[in-house]
């Protein structure tokens, strides 16, 4: 079965050189694609989780009574939202990468504690996290003062009010925007190619550089994979959103 599929595509590549689905019949390329896919999935999942954590923490810090804390958060957001993620990746990898500790297995090579994958995760998470901070903050602002007052007049302190009332509500308000931003994050992981993170785009580009006839086939795969990845994310988020729905509100 598998054999015949492979034969079919090998045949297709013979007769139709511009449609060379090499990654289907050449195990070496298949392995590269799978590696890339795995890396993309890891990048996406880890960045999604980290960026949400960063968003929640940042939003809490932004409500801090201390001015300098707020300024630091503000500065962070400004830096990350105003520069293209592509340049951020370069900056992190080449500039900050020089200052991180490293160990040296062979006398020359300095293997940094944070690899390029690590930097991609950090950079992309902070990039999306900057947007998430804003998203959660506006969610928190959407919880009316009067609801907070009600919980205060029941004797709850600030922290209790936050944990039991404000955050659960803010989270629901934020979900749609969060959804958008995370989809965007998954799409942005392709840019990690500039610091040579071997994710899917990197592997596919390498494949069609080596086998130029495979270019079309690589693009098709790329398109399908991202549609599926984004689709899964959107479905998951929608299900979550439905699960979080409060009966009696919303359409």
């Amino acid at each position: 079965m598998l054999q015949s599929i492979q034969d079919y595509f090998r045949q297709l590549a013979e007769t139709n050189p511009s449609w060379n689905f090499i990654y289907i019949y050449d195990p070496v390329q298949t392995a590269r694609v799978l590696d890339g896919l795995w890396m993309t999935i890891i990048l996406s999942v880890v960045c999604v989780i980290l960026s949400v954590v960063i968003g929640v923490v940042g939003a809490l810090l932004q409500g801090s009574p201390r001015r300098w804390v707020r300024s630091v958060v503000q500065g962070y957001i400004q830096f990350f939202r105003n520069t293209p993620p592509l340049i951020q990746l370069l900056f992190f990898y080449f500039a900050l990468g020089q200052f991180t500790p490293s160990y040296s297995p062979d006398g020359w090579l300095e293997v940094p504690i944070i690899s390029n994958v690590g930097w991609a995760i950090i950079s992309l998470s902070f990039f999306a996290g900057a947007f998430n901070v804003e998203i959660f903050r506006s969610g928190i602002e959407a919880v009316p003062e009067s609801t907070k007052e009600a919980s205060e007049s029941l004797g709850m302190n600030r922290l209790q009010t936050y944990i039991y009332v404000v955050l659960p509500l803010a989270f629901r308000v934020s979900l749609p925007s969060l959804n958008n931003n995370l989809v965007n994050l998954v799409k942005t992981t392709t840019q990690a190619i500039v610091i040579a993170v071997p994710e899917l785009l990197y592997q596919l580009v390498s494949i069609y550089n080596d086998y130029s006839t495979a270019q079309n086939a690589c693009m098709v795969l790329m398109f399908l994979v991202y549609i599926v990845l984004v689709g899964i994310l959107v479905l998951g988020m929608n299900r979550w959103e439905r699960g979080m729905r409060i009966p009696g509100y919303g359409a």
Binding site: R81, A95, F131, T190
Partner: protein, 298 residues
Amino acid sequence: MSARTLIPGITARATTDLPVLKPFKGKPYGHDEIGFSRFLANLSPWAVVCVVMLLALWPMAAMAQAKYTIGDAFDALWKWVPFLVTKGFALNILISVTTMAIGTAAGVLLGLWQISPHPAIQKTAWAVTQAFRNSPWLVLLFIVMLAFPFEITIAGVTIPIPDWMKAVFGLSLPIMANISEVVRGAIQSVPTGQWEASESLAFSRNQTLWRIILPQCFKRMIPPWMNWYAILTMATPLVSLLGVEEIVTLSRQAMEGENNHPELLIPFYGFCLVIFFAYCYPIARWTISLERKFSVKL
């Protein structure tokens, strides 16, 4: 008003909808649609200086060991600036403006179809919008670059389609989808009461749309629209991956011409950053001031 005597409380407001979550008043568009501009515009000049200085840290370490100094690198940059701007950045602007024009025209149409009473049209428009909104720009670009011919022949006249024009078509697709969402969102942010009121005044559907609804949301659409323009402009370097000779491609070629000294990275990419910023920052400020202006009236 003797009524009130007999019926205590009868004249009180009879709204039963809960103010549980404040309605997103004056924010008819999603967070991400205006977020970028707001951010850019909020940046105070000193913050810009800080960022630039932070960036300047980058070369310090590299500088120490090389004979080719950062000064040499900057000298090299100055030689190239005229070429990079007139040939490279000008193309970025050209691409962004043309893309925006095409994307807007198509997006408005698609957005109106999204609220069409015809379920088939509406569903199709929705599906098209979602598909192009959610696929990576790069992939769309690749597909268009490969699928489009480099010239077309109409009635015997051969019209060449330059590469950047193809990139424009590729970028127009996601822009179209996003503008479509802006239009739909803006129209749907107009209370249904407006539709009913116009209906009961005997306006036809088209009259209602063009005379009542669109004029109300036109102003609301401008800020997110400009925001998308800024995002698009920042995204034009993507086409460098396809060999269109915009500023990043040309910067790479320029560095090649200067023997690829690693010291060139900062000046050249930094220059790209600065020139994009110099172009987007005023637009962002303008967007925000427009938004403020419009939000007062409506």
